[in-house]
Amino acid sequence: MSARTHKLINRPDAIVAEMLEGFCAAYSDIVQLTGDRLITRAQPKAQGKVALVIGNGSGHEPAMVGWVGPGLFDVNIAGEIFTAPGPQRIVEGIRAADCGGGVLVCVSHHAGDRLNAELALELCEAEGIDNVELVILYDDISSAPKGQEAERRGTAGLFFVWKLLGAFCEGDCDLAAAKALAEKVRDNTRSLAMSLSSCASPITGEVMFEMAADEMEIGMGLHGEVGMGRQKSLSADATIDLMLPPILEDLPFAAGDEVLVLLNNSGSLTLMELFILYRRVAQRLAEAGITVYRAWLDAYATTQEMAGFALSLCRVDEQLKALWDAPANGAYMKQLPPDAKDS
């Protein structure tokens, strides 16, 4: 089974510039394109609040451009395809985001993202920009064993952090509290991904890696990183029965817990499949005595048209539930204020 090789682009070296131009033109009520490929809010946050910044490689849309807006990020620094932006651009993003309450730089743990963010913080220090903090986030249980959580990669479960942290930073909090909240959500989140297919690199048009039509891989990363090995494809229920137990054991999630659930489509999986997969997740969680507070099935972090998904769970308490329910208005993440929902 081969991946689609013709992409509707113009020139490989113009992909990022043109896509950001198109995106910001389409959603000019929410975002604007400023400086060197910075996506910032159309209406900045009020003075004195903690601002949230994230840099990441492009090619994972709507991550993270679609998550800039009220209740979410203040600035996103878009890198080249699957390549973290360099430190100088991150510093620019920090400057653009700062509204006097400090800036929290969020990093989804991948080497490039971490190294460049660390360099950016060193530059900030050298340039006298203070009140900037870094938080490293990870959730993928397949990328390092229990006990070595800090070595794990970031994947779709971090969308829980983005949503809850975004809501938290609309309120009155300081930078230390924001960082602590991000870590709290991270430490209550676990994810595992799988894929049925490869995809073509938008730049070269070449298939990123080979995969047989009847194979699947559990634990595959957002760039096709190997996980726990290939195996024959299973049914929806059997796939969940394989993936959910290690997630539950890892935290561990236990009877009586309340959770948020995310099934993230990595590109060309269908909603039909996500719905059928979720049915099994709901059954198994009910059996385990775990209550789902809200579920969330869509394509948030994609790897082009890869056919796969990530299953993420986040254990929540009253504080996190309230943050979940708080409004958000990114181009690709919207949450209505509770009182407007049944208008």
């Binding site: 890198g79 080249e80 360099g86 430190p87 080497a111 490039g112 190294l115 690199s201 760039h223």
Partner: protein, 206 residues
């Protein structure tokens, strides 16, 4: 060979950039086997940017040359490799404050500082299948040599051997780490770039 001036350093970066550009497609192919196929394009693009930025400097100091190269790599390349290759020059540049002429011993210290910075940042050890496998032996060979021309020559040979040694390694850093066994049999692109850069340095200056 005389101590190096700012002009010599600018010339050195230019030769490195030229040599890497000439091998761009080979480096892309190496990276396609173990990573995402962009190493040749990104490193050659960033080095070309460095040459251009250096060319625009009026009366640069040695530190200006090294710092400009560092920034071009850091910001023009992005990703883990931009941070790694950029850090190499950034840490070297810190040694060049108020330095006008660079002896072989100065250069050895510069390279050693760069290597230490790379390893502090990227946590790669020799044997992890990264550019460190070429850089570490090159830096050691350079320091052990008697004078400039022989130091570059020794470093170039050591880098070439080091790069070649990555072929049979399992990767422990970089994208290739996620390929597991599949990366075996392919030389590391970053290590190959280091070998090319030292080979360029060992060429007689025109």
């Amino acid at each position: 060979m005389h101590d190096l001036t700012a002009k010599d350093l600018a010339d050195l970066i230019k030769r490195m950039a030229g040599r890497v550009l000439a091998e761009r497609e080979m480096l892309n192919r190496l990276d396609a086997a173990t990573g995402d196929g962009d190493h040749g394009s990104s490193i050659s693009g960033a080095l070309a940017l460095a040459v251009q930025k250096i060319g625009a400097l009026a009366e640069p100091s040695p530190q200006d040359i090294w710092l400009t190269t560092a920034k071009a790599l850091l910001n023009g390349m992005g990703g883990a490799s931009g941070a790694i290759f950029g850090t190499f020059f950034l840490k070297g540049a810190a040694k060049l404050k108020d330095v006008e002429r660079i002896s072989q011993a100065d250069m050895a210290a510069l390279l050693a500082a760069g290597l230490a910075g790379v390893q502090a940042r990227g946590r790669a050890q020799v044997g992890d299948k990264t550019m460190v496998d070429a850089l570490a032996p090159a830096v050691a060979a350079f320091a052990a040599a008697a004078d400039f021309p022989s130091a570059w020559r020794a470093a170039a040979d050591a880098a070439a051997t080091g790069a070649e040694s990555t072929r049979d390694m399992l990767a422990r850093q970089g994208r290739a780490k996620y390929l597991g066994e599949r990366a075996i049999g392919h030389a590391d692109p970053g290590a190959t770039t280091i070998a090319l850069m030292f080979a360029a340095a060992a060429e007689p200056s025109p």
